[in-house]
C-alpha cells in the first residue's frame, strides 16, 4: 500500500513559518510511523529532522502529534491509522526544527518536583524493606519514560507553560507514594502551588496520550487527595 504522509516542517535557518510537506510512502500495515519517517529521511529528504533511538517505545525520544493525537512514532502502526497520516511536532514546546522541539522546559519542570528518593536516615547494610503491597502502590508511575506526550497534550499546559504538567506530577507521585521516601510533604507543598495539581481540569488527555499506559489523571487525583487529607 501507499501512505500519504503529511509532515509539518520548519527549518529555522530558512523558514519564517512552518509548512506542510506531503510524501507518498510505500508501507506495510505493520510498519511503524517511525519507519515512514525514516523512509522519507533516508530516501527522499535527508534534512527531515526528528529524534528517535530505541524504536520500540521505551526511550521516549519520538513523541509527536500523529493524526491529531500525541503518540510515539515507533509505537503506532500504519494499520491503526490508515492511508492518510499527518505528523506534527508536540504542542506547547518551541519547535527547533521540523518535528524536534525544545525539551529543556519539560526537563526543568521535572527537576523542580524533587524527582529522587529523599531519605536522610542512615541506610541499612542490606535493603530497606518494602512489602509487595507497598511496592505496588507506586508501580504505575515508575513506568514513565519522560517522553512529554502527556504534558504536551494538556490544554492547561498549552495555556500556561509554568504549570508543572502531568509528567512532573507523575514523577512526584512515584516518590510521594514510595514507603521509603521522606520528602512527600516537601513535594506536596510544591504541588499545592498555583502552578500545581489544582490546575488540572481532568480532561484525561494525558491518560489517553501516555504510551506506557500510565493512569496519569488518576495519579494526579491521588496527589490532590493526599493534599486534601494530609495531616497539618
Amino acid at each position: 500500500m501507499d501512505v500519504t504522509l503529511r509532515v509539518r516542517r520548519f527549518n529555522p535557518e530558512t523558514d519564517q513559518a512552518s509548512h506542510v510537506e506531503t510524501y507518498q510512502v510505500p508501507a506495510e500495515p505493520m510498519d511503524r510511523v517511525l519507519d515512514l519517517l525514516h523512509y522519507v529521511k533516508w530516501n527522499i529528504d535527508g534534512s527531515l529532522t526528528f529524534r528517535r533511538s530505541c524504536a520500540h517505545g521505551v526511550c521516549g525520544s519520538d513523541a509527536m502529534l500523529i493524526n491529531g493525537a500525541n503518540r510515539l512514532a515507533c509505537k503506532v502502526l500504519v494499520r491503526e491509522l490508515g492511508e492518510q497520516i499527518s505528523v506534527e511536532p508536540l504542542r506547547g514546546l518551541a519547535v527547533k526544527k521540523d518535528l524536534l522541539v525544545d525539551m529543556d522546559p519539560f526537563f526543568d519542570s521535572y527537576r523542580e518536583v524533587l524527582p529522587f528518593l529523599i531519605n536522610d536516615e542512615p541506610a541499612p547494610d542490606t535493603e530497606r524493606r518494602q512489602s509487595p503491597e507497598q511496592r505496588r502502590r507506586f508501580d504505575d508511575t515508575t513506568k514513565c519514560i519522560l517522553c512529554a506526550a502527556c504534558t504536551t497534550s494538556c490544554p492547561v499546559f498549552w495555556a500556561d507553560e509554568r504549570y508543572f504538567g502531568p509528567a512532573s506530577i507523575v514523577n512526584a507521585h512515584r516518590f510521594i507514594f514510595d514507603s521509603r521516601d521522606q520528602g512527600g510533604a516537601e513535594r506536596l507543598d510544591l504541588l499545592n502551588d498555583k502552578e500545581g495539581v489544582w490546575r488540572c481540569r481532568t480532561t484525561f488527555n494525558c491518560t489517553d496520550a501516555c504510551p506506557r499506559g500510565i493512569k496519569v489523571t488518576q495519579a494526579i487525583q491521588e496527589v490532590k487527595r493526599a493534599l486534601l487529607f494530609r495531616k497539618p
Binding site: F50, S53, C59, G60, T126, R135, R180
Partner: protein, 577 residues
C-alpha cells in the same frame, strides 16, 4: 569557532555506566557528562530481565558460584580477576541502587526478590538458581531512571545532544575531547584531566538487532582512530529471542519465568541441546540451537525461518505482573497474543563482548602488556575488561555498568586530583573540523542510508551466528567496497542546526571502522568459542586460542596481536549445560 571548556573529568555517554561514574566523579572533581542523547534516552533503559547478585534472598547462593557461571558462560575467555570483582561487588551494587530508590520487586517479607536466568546456577552448574534482582521486565529502565534521578539530586553538569567526535591525547595521556553540538553545529573543545568513555554498543552494524539507532560504537571508534587497540571484537552476542524480523528484544526473563522454545512441530527442542538446564541455556548456545532447527527444516512460518517462544502455559497473572512489557511488544509489533499462542522469534544482534581494553580499575590499556593510558577510562558495553569473555550471561551487563561505572568514576576523579591539564596544540579541534568539512563538502551522490543498509544486510549473513573463512573473506572485500562508497558519501542536509543527516553519516563511518576490526579478528580466530562460531573450526581450541585478540587500525587495514587470559580459580573445562 570552537567553544572552550575545562573540566577535571569528562564522561562521554549517559547510560548506566556514565551516570554511575558521574555520581562518583562529580562529588570529587569538576565533572561534565556529554551525551549525544538526553540521558534518559540511553539504551540501558531497554534492558529488561534483571541484574544478578548472589544476595541469597530466596535460596542459597554465593558470589563464587556467580563467578564460576560468568567464567563458564564466557567460555573461559573471561579475565577471572575482573569477574571475581564484579560478582563480589554485585551484592553491594544492588543494595546501593536500592538505597538510591531503585524499585526492585519484593518478596513477601519485603526483601529484594530474585528469579532464574540463563546460565546462572548453584554449586558450579548443578542446577538453576534464583539470582536475578529485577523490577518487572523493565529493570534497565528503572536503573537508568534511578541513576538519572540521583544525578539530578546532586546537580551533575550535563551537555545533552553533544556528540563526541575526537579524543585528544597529549604528553602521553588523555587531554580532552572534541564534541559537536547538535543544536548549533558548533564544535566544542573540552579540556580534561580524565576522560571516561561510556558510549555503549555497536549493534547497528547488523540488520536484525535489539540495539537502538544510537548504538553506533562512537567511543570505541574514536579510540581506535587515535591508534589504540580494541579487544575481542569478534565476540558479538546474538540474543536468541528477538521479535521476528524486527529484532526487538524479548527478555530472557520470559524463560526465567518458565517460557520455552518450540519449533514448527511444537517440540520443546532445547532438551536436545542442553539436557540439564534446557531453555535456560546461555544465549550463544540457544541462538545456535534455533538456527540449527531452522536449517534442518523445523523452523515455523511460510519461510520456515523462525521458532516460537511459548509462555502461554504460564499463569496469566504472572505474565501481567512480571512480563508486561515484552508481552505488549508481541501484541503491538506482531499482533500476537502471548497468553494464547507462541511468539515468533529469531536471534538478534544484541551485545558486544569486545571493546576498549581496560583493567579492573577501568583504566584503558594499550598493548599486550596492559600498559595504561593515563587519564583514559572506559566502562560498560564499550569497554572490554573482560568480564564477559566470549559470551555474556544475561543480567551481567546491568551489573557490569554499575560496578565498573562506579570504579571508573572513582579512578577518574582520583587521577585528576592535583594534576595539571596537559598542554594541547594550537587548534586541537582541527582534525574533527577538517573531517566534518570534508564530509559535508562531498558533491551529490549516494547517501549514508543505502551504504548502511548494505553493511547491515551483509554483516547479518557473513559475520553473524555462523561464520566461515569464506564468508568473512567476502565480508572483508565488501567492506572495502563500502569504504570506497563512504569516501564519496553525500550529506544532503546543508543546515547547521540539528543536522542529524550529518550525524548519521559520521556514525556510519564509525560502524565501518568497527566492522573491519570485528571481521579481521573473527577471520583470524580459527576456533569456535562462545558467541564466535566458525563452521570450519567448530571446536574450541585452548592450546592456540585461549587468548584475547587486540586489533589496531593500520592504514587501510587491521593489525592483530594477542594477550593472555587471566585465570585465577577455574581451569578451562568442556562447556556443557
Amino acid at each position: 569557532m570552537t567553544v572552550r571548556h575545562s573540566y577535571d573529568v569528562v564522561i562521554v555517554g549517559a547510560g548506566g555506566a556514565g551516570l554511575r561514574a558521574a555520581l562518583e566523579a562529580s562529588g570529587r572533581a569538576k565533572t561534565a557528562v556529554l551525551s549525544k542523547l538526553y540521558p534518559t534516552r540511553s539504551h540501558t533503559g531497554a534492558a529488561q530481565g534483571g541484574m544478578c547478585a548472589a544476595l541469597a534472598s530466596v535460596e542459597d547462593d554465593n558470589w563464587e558460584w556467580h563467578t564460576f557461571d560468568t567464567v563458564k558462560g564466557g567460555d573461559y575467555l573471561v579475565d577471572q580477576d575482573a569477574a571475581e570483582i564484579m560478582c563480589r561487588e554485585a551484592i553491594d551494587a544492588v543494595y546501593d541502587l536500592e538505597h538510591m530508590g531503585m524499585p526492585f520487586d519484593r518478596t513477601p517479607d519485603g526483601r529484594i526478590d530474585q528469579r532464574r536466568f540463563g546460565g546462572h546456577t548453584h554449586d558450579h552448574g548443578q542446577g538453576p538458581v534464583r539470582r536475578s534482582c529485577y523490577a518487572a521486565d523493565r529493570t534497565g529502565h528503572m536503573i537508568l531512571q534511578t541513576l538519572y534521578q540521583q544525578n539530578v539530586k546532586r546537580g551533575t553538569t550535563f551537555f545533552n545532544e553533544f556528540y563526541v567526535l575526537d579524543l585528544l591525547l597529549a604528553e602521553g595521556r588523555a587531554a580532552g575531547v572534541v564534541a559537536y553540538e547538535l543544536a548549533t553545529g558548533e564544535l566544542h573543545l573540552f579540556r580534561a584531566k580524565s576522560v571516561v568513555f561510556c558510549t555503549g554498543g555497536f549493534g547497528k552494524m547488523f540488520k536484525v538487532t535489539s540495539n537502538a539507532h544510537a548504538l553506533t560504537g562512537d567511543g570505541p571508534a574514536v579510540v581506535y582512530r587515535r591508534g589504540l587497540p580494541l579487544e575481542d571484537m569478534e565476540f558479538f552476542q546474538f540474543h536468541p529471542t528477538g521479535l521476528y524480523r524486527l529484532g526487538i528484544l524479548l527478555s530472557e526473563a520470559a524463560r526465567g519465568e518458565g517460557g520455552i522454545f518450540r519449533n514448527r512441530d511444537g517440540e520443546a527442542f532445547m532438551e536436545r541441546y542442553a539436557p540439564m538446564i534446557k531453555d535456560l541455556a546461555p544465549r550463544d548456545m540457544a541462538s545456535r540451537a534455533i538456527y540449527t532447527e531452522i536449517r534442518e527444516g523445523r523452523g515455523a512460518g511460510p519461510d520456515g525461518d523462525y521458532v516460537y517462544l511459548d509462555v502461554s502455559h504460564l499463569d496469566p497473572a504472572v505474565i501481567d505482573a512480571k512480563l508486561p512489557d515484552i508481552t505488549e511488544f508481541a501484541r503491538t509489533y506482531l499482533g500476537v497474543e502471548p497468553k494464547k499462542e507462541g511468539v515468533p522469534i529469531q536471534p538478534t544482534a544484541h551485545y558486544a563482548m569486545g571493546g576498549i581494553p581496560t583493567n579492573i580499575h577501568a583504566e584503558v590499556v594499550a598493548d599486550p602488556n596492559d600498559s595504561v593510558v593515563p587519564g583514559l577510562y572506559a566502562a560498560g558495553e564499550c569497554a572490554c575488561v573482560s568480564v564477559h569473555g566470549a559470551n555474556r550471561l544475561g543480567t551481567n551487563s546491568l551489573l557490569d555498568i554499575v560496578v565498573f561505572g562506579r570504579r571508573a568514576g572513582v579512578a577518574a576523579a582520583e587521577h585528576a586530583a592535583g594534576l595539571d591539564f596537559a598542554e594541547l596544540p594550537d587548534d586541537p579541534a582541527a582534525d574533527a573540523r577538517q573531517a566534518l568539512e570534508e564530509l559535508a563538502g562531498h558533491p551529490r551522490g549516494e547517501r549514508a542510508a543505502s551504504i548502511r543498509a548494505d553493511l547491515q544486510t551483509a554483516m547479518d549473513v557473513r559475520a553473524g551466528v555462523y561464520r566461515t573463512d569464506g564468508l568473512l573473506k567476502e565480508m572483508e572485500e565488501q567492506l572495502d567496497d563500502l569504504r570506497g562508497r563512504y569516501d564519496r558519501v553525500w550529506v544532503q542536509d546543508g543546515s547547521r542546526a540539528y543536522n542529524t543527516d550529518l550525524m548519521e553519516t559520521v556514525e556510519l563511518g564509525f560502524l565501518l571502522d568497527l566492522a573491519e576490526a570485528l571481521v579481521a579478528s573473527a577471520r583470524a580466530r580459527t576456533e569456535s568459542r562462545g558467541g564466535h562460531f566458525r563452521e570450519d573450526f567448530p571446536k574450541r581450541d585452548d592450546e592456540h586460542w585461549l587468548r584475547h585478540s587486540l586489533a589496531w587500525k593500520a592504514g587501510d587495514g587491521v593489525k592483530l596481536d594477542y594477550k593472555p587470559v587471566t585465570i585465577t580459580r577455574y581451569q578451562p573445562m568442556e562447556r556443557t549445560y
